[in-house]
């Protein structure tokens, strides 16, 4: 029996796990996929939003601004990339100007600091590739870019170091309320916990509805993106939004914390909670819409496109509370944008609710700091030479596009909650994230995975069971019927 069982190892679940790991309680995170950060948390804009967008007085607004304020110090504590690059919301016609003023007022009411309206000239001086037809823009200096994978992973690793148990490839199928606790059915057998946290992303409504008469409805809202090569990474400096108009919301353009350029997303409501396929229409919509804010984006530098699903709840609000007719069952649902930004605050809020419920005390020896995977390129030349002399694997480049060394890949596999799939390694240390998209390095990374995990290459997978990368050895074909 655990004190707390968290469903979902996305950024919300892991933030909650980390905050709960400060307390004297046993915590388990169950995740349907093979790794942390495998759903909504892995495919989004990678932004720490300033907080001017959410409705005044909403939980979304409060947690967004709180998350934005915590994020920088958290990035130091947990060692993940963060860069405060600021955001611009472009106003493209004089008649939309009142909308910009409304956004400014809302942002100030939400407590966002440093907001100001810039003139056309000021905008173009900062961002030469912005549509010259821009009339003004809202400048939000506290907006930042982060690595969504590393934030999620850092929270999970730190939680694990402080005693949280993670169970992967474990899908929750049902709940039975017991006397003072819950029995949780999974495809790996039953588990028990005094409290349950439902942080299941696009599946959160489905799980909620198993325990409550008050039904929730969540729509997977797909967002398609283009990711461009680092050669295009400085096409804009800040994150560029378009002021929503009666014609729609537009798409954003942002540098990523690793130096690429990201353009998107669309917002297409779908039924399939696994429907992360891009479509031609979606991708064309992006390249068409972006022309109104940032002109001449070099789309020929595209290295990949992808889609993520937002967990859009009908009321467009975060739902973080104990379910009224299911005591001990806590929803952490409807976490769509600005969910990544809000995650640290969401974690605190969830932990606070459960601490009060179970009357939990703080641990004496919580370890708040986590050290990221060694990046030889972030070291001084002397430190790097010493590292390679000690561990030559850090001098052997496996991924030529991103200069990822064997040492980093091995560390990604060997750490607690280590990578078990090609995508897991890619999210942690980036082989395959570059311009050749794994063409040269993936066979080498597959070999390292097989060797380290002690499995055959035919068992190495891309993203969990069922995504094996090779089907067998050569010269063993079944020629019958050929």
């Amino acid at each position: 029996m655990y004190d707390i069982l968290i469903i979902g190892a996305g950024v919300s679940g892991c933030a909650a796990a980390r905050e709960l790991s400060r307390l004297q309680a046993s915590v388990c995170v169950v995740e349907a996929r093979e790794d942390v950060c495998s759903g909504t948390s892995k495919a989004n804009s990678g932004l720490a939003h300033a907080g001017f967008d959410a409705r005044e007085g909403s939980l979304m607004a409060r947690l967004n601004v709180e998350g934005s304020r915590i994020m920088e110090s958290l990035s130091e504590e947990l060692d993940f990339p963060y860069r405060r690059n600021g955001a611009l919301v472009l106003c493209l016609s004089e008649e939309d100007r009142p909308g910009l003023e409304t956004l400014l007022a809302r942002g100030r009411a939400n407590g966002v600091e440093g907001l100001e309206i810039l003139s056309r000239e000021q905008v173009l001086a900062r961002e030469p590739h912005v549509n010259p037809g821009v009339t003004a823009a809202l400048w939000a200096p506290s907006a930042a870019i982060i690595c969504p994978f590393e934030l999620n992973l850092a929270l999970a690793e730190n939680a694990a170091e402080n005693g949280v148990v993670f169970r992967f490839n474990t899908r929750v199928t049902g709940f039975s309320p017991m006397e003072g606790y819950w029995q949780i059915q999974t495809d790996q057998g039953p588990l028990e916990a005094k409290c349950v946290v439902n942080a299941a992303g696009v599946y959160a409504a489905q799980l909620h509805n198993l325990v409550s008469q008050t039904k929730l409805h969540i729509t997977p809202r797909r967002g398609d993106y283009y990711l461009l090569d680092k050669t295009a990474g400085s096409y804009v400096n800040s994150t560029i939004f378009q002021l929503p108009t009666k014609y729609g919301k537009g798409v954003l353009v942002t540098p990523t914390v690793h130096g690429n350029l990201l353009v998107g997303p669309t917002a297409i409501d779908i039924d399939d909670p696994e429907g992360t396929n891009t479509t031609r229409e979606g991708l064309e919509e992006i390249s068409r819409k972006v022309e109104s804010t940032v002109t001449g984006i070099p789309f020929r530098e595209t290295i990949t496109s992808f889609a993520g699903l937002r967990a859009h709840e009908d009321g467009h609000e975060f739902i973080i509370q104990e379910v009224e007719d299911a005591p001990g069952f806590f929803d952490c649902a409807g976490i769509e944008s600005p969910g990544l930004t809000a995650a640290p605050a969401i974690g605190r809020m969830v932990a606070g609710l459960i601490r009060d419920k179970l009357a939990l005390e703080e641990k004496a020896h919580f370890q708040p700091r986590r050290k990221g995977i060694t990046d030889p390129w972030a070291l001084s030349p002397q430190e790097r030479q010493a590292l390679i002399a000690r561990e030559p694997d850090y001098g052997q480049i496996i991924c030529r596009c991103e200069n990822v060394t064997a040492g980093q890949i091995l560390e990604a596999i060997r750490r607690p909650l280590g990578a078990r799939s090609l995508d897991g390694i890619k999210r942690r240390v980036r082989p395959g994230m570059g311009r050749c998209q794994g063409g040269f390095c993936s066979p080498k990374v597959m070999e390292l995975l097989a060797r380290e995990l002690g499995i055959g290459l035919e068992q190495v997978n891309k993203c969990g069971p069922g995504s094996e990368l090779v089907t067998g050895v050569t010269k063993e074909a079944d020629y019958e019927g050929v």
Binding site: T304, I397, R435, G438, K462
Partner: protein, 420 residues
């Protein structure tokens, strides 16, 4: 800082040939830097034959062709560092590299030859919509898995793109027991050599579907199928022509891109047409003493031409090192005219040309019975009828130095394709 007369970046066919030629021209302090664990480059995974018909008048496999040059390099005791990745080349030719033994280190070079080769265009760059399951490989990655590592990427295969590696892999996968359903090609003509169409597809009854592309990818974990569709003259899918093909493997052979990140960072001017450095008749880039050859310069169809070009680069780099390469003098641009996509070189300095110069180029579309012409300003000096011209095959013409010397005011050389 340790130094070499000549540092060659890349130990594939281009780098090896350049090293041999430079040594034979008298350069002794040569170092080849190779990022893989052995010399030979991509030839090591090309186990089919057909290499070396021009160079050796025999049909070799890729590894055999590479071995001939590796032997020549060894006979000359030319130094090589394997498993060594070059991180940076400075405009004044300081090369920064990393390996397990030395960590990050720097070397000064009298001259540098860029011979890093090319890479394949990945799925993402092709904007194919759909899911992102396992089972999608570039043809070259699959070739490595099958030919070097002994693993089968899948059993039921669709290939997109009729580039040579895709065609070769259609045959290889068939020989290894997989079923290749079809090869789809966006263009109305093949991207590969005619001999590969015949020997790799027709001989095995594999259909080539021209003017078709993949419009959707199915399967969330492992590929389960692709949808292909016919495209119109603007390469847009035609609604109603979609066909679903169940498969567990999609191989992509949709073009090669010279790998010029080092060159770009060094300040080498790149050509938008080739994605390779802009070079002159000496295969020298805009940066003095930095030369380029092979697929990093422009993508070749035959390795024999890579060797020829790289001999030239090695010889010219040697001349530069021995102060025998005259200063550039007047320069004459070489223009890709009607029907020609690019030429290499794209600028000529007549004062330091050899007696004749080979201009290599590719045409932009399939043409039958057209004329290949060379104009020196308004004067046509070559007008040659060609039964077939195709973008898949590299073409070449020779220009004589005497022709240029006769015309001191020449403003441009133009290579073009003419109907009459």
């Amino acid at each position: 800082m340790k130094g070499y007369d000549l540092i060659i970046i890349g130990g594939g066919p281009a780098g090896l040939s350049a090293a041999v030629a430079a040594w034979d021209a008298g350069v002794r302090e040569i170092l080849i830097l190779e990022r893989d664990q052995e010399l030979g480059g991509i030839l090591n995974q090309c186990i089919h034959n057909g290499f070396g018909l021009h160079t050796f008048q025999e049909e070799l496999t890729g590894p055999e062709y590479a071995a001939r040059f590796i032997d020549k390099v060894r006979e000359r005791n030319i130094a090589c560092l394997l498993d060594t990745m070059v991180l940076e080349v400075s405009p004044d030719r300081v090369v920064t590299a990393v390996n397990r033994e030395q960590g990050v280190f720097q070397l000064r070079a009298g001259a540098v030859i860029l011979a890093m080769g090319c890479r394949e265009r990945p799925r993402g760059a092709l904007n194919i919509p759909g899911h992102r399951p396992a089972g999608i490989y570039t043809a070259g990655t699959a070739q490595r898995l099958v030919n070097m590592d002994g693993w089968m990427p899948g059993k039921e295969v669709v290939i997109l793109g009729s580039g040579d590696i895709g065609l070769i892999m259609a045959r290889r996968m068939t020989l290894e027991g997989a079923h290749v359903r079809l090869v789809a090609e966006l263009m109305s003509y093949s991207g590969g050599l005619k001999r590969n169409i015949v020997q790799c597809l027709e001989d095995y009854g594999i259909p080539l579907r021209l003017s078709h592309t993949v419009v959707d990818i199915h399967g969330k974990q492992r590929l389960t199928g692709v949808t292909i569709a016919q495209v119109d003259e603007n390469n847009r899918p035609i609604p109603g022509t979609e066909e679903y093909h169940p498969c567990d493997t999609l191989l992509l052979s949709c073009g090669l891109l010279p790998e010029n990140e080092l060159s770009r960072a060094a300040g080498v001017t790149l050509s938008p047409a080739t994605s390779g450095p802009v070079v002159d008749e000496a295969l020298e880039t805009n940066l003095e003493g930095i030369f380029a050859c092979g697929n990093v310069l422009h993508v070749h169809d035959l390795v024999d031409y890579v060797t020829q070009e790289s001999f030239e680069a090695g010889r010219r780099a040697a001349a530069y090192l021995q102060n025998r390469l005259p200063s550039r003098g007047r320069s004459v641009p070489v223009k890709a005219g009607e029907g020609v996509r690019y030429t290499v070189p794209s600028v000529v300095h007549p004062d330091r040309m050899d007696d004749s110069l080979t201009l290599r180029f590719r045409v932009s579309g399939v043409r039958q019975g057209a004329f290949l012409s060379v104009w020196l300003d308004g004067e046509r000096i070559l007008h040659q009828r060609k039964p077939v011209l195709a973008p898949a095959e590299m073409e070449q013409v020779r220009i004589r130095r005497s022709e240029l010397e006769k015309r001191p005011d020449l403003s441009a050389i133009t290579v073009c394709i003419e109907e009459v």
